[in-house]
Symmetry: C2
Subunit: 126 residues, 2 copies
Amino acid sequence: MSGFGPGDAFLADCPARLAVELIADKWTVVVLYGLSQGPVRHGELIELIGGISRKMLTQTLRRLEAHGLIRRHAYAEVPPRVEYELTPLGATLIDPIHMLTEWARANGDAVLDALDAGPEPVAHSD
Amino acid sequence: MSGFGPGDAFLADCPARLAVELIADKWTVVVLYGLSQGPVRHGELIELIGGISRKMLTQTLRRLEAHGLIRRHAYAEVPPRVEYELTPLGATLIDPIHMLTEWARANGDAVLDALDAGPEPVAHSD
DNA sequence: AGGCTAGGTTTCCGATAGGAACCAGCAGGT
DNA sequence: ACCTGCTGGTTCCTATCGGAAACCTAGCCT
């Protein structure tokens, strides 16, 4: 008895699936979060996030831009300066992301704990 | 001056990064959502979700189990029956996920719209 | 002139995702 | 008795992705 109605879930048919797949990659959420406090430059994001390569940053930013979540602002200066900022649409994603981070802060320990206790001997008789 | 303090973001150092990376893959969120209404069997999840392969389902379920978010229940019947259900810890993730789905329901159209309008001629007024 | 800066792209390679096919184990049909 | 089928899971193979590092552009400084 899976009480999922046709409009209820993002299972197989609805637009929610699309949106979840939008943000369901390693860096999207982190990048959006990095932009949540205002415009940030490419290089700043690199250092802020830590661990992301230029390539993946650019790629993630481009996709977010294409989806209307962020805006790119390239100043015709030298050395070049490029800032990224959330669009109003992108800003609406910050709340759900904050919920995720809050969850992580509250339960991250429990998850690590489970991971630690997790590798049970499993009683594989051979 | 990005106003991120050391305990403020999941940028580079904190546990939130770990947690975000936990759920930041194509299927985790969908699977968790699929389990949000109670125990579901492996095969039911396959049909419910639609588009996931057995392998990825199993893999996702195993990871979620290892992280303490779901519990596996294998009945010694024939044909085999295996049910998965959220643990209390896993259940706490449903709220944030619901926020995401709500966001998607509300803004999915806007995203698709941006994607459609996105490929702009780039208006290089040079 | 050569090097610096800063954003971006390209190249290469290892890791991963994903589908299809196969396996296990028993019940039931023929 | 044998073969098939149901269900969950695993293995094999390939296409794609992710990441490191090198290269590019372009103007300013020395």
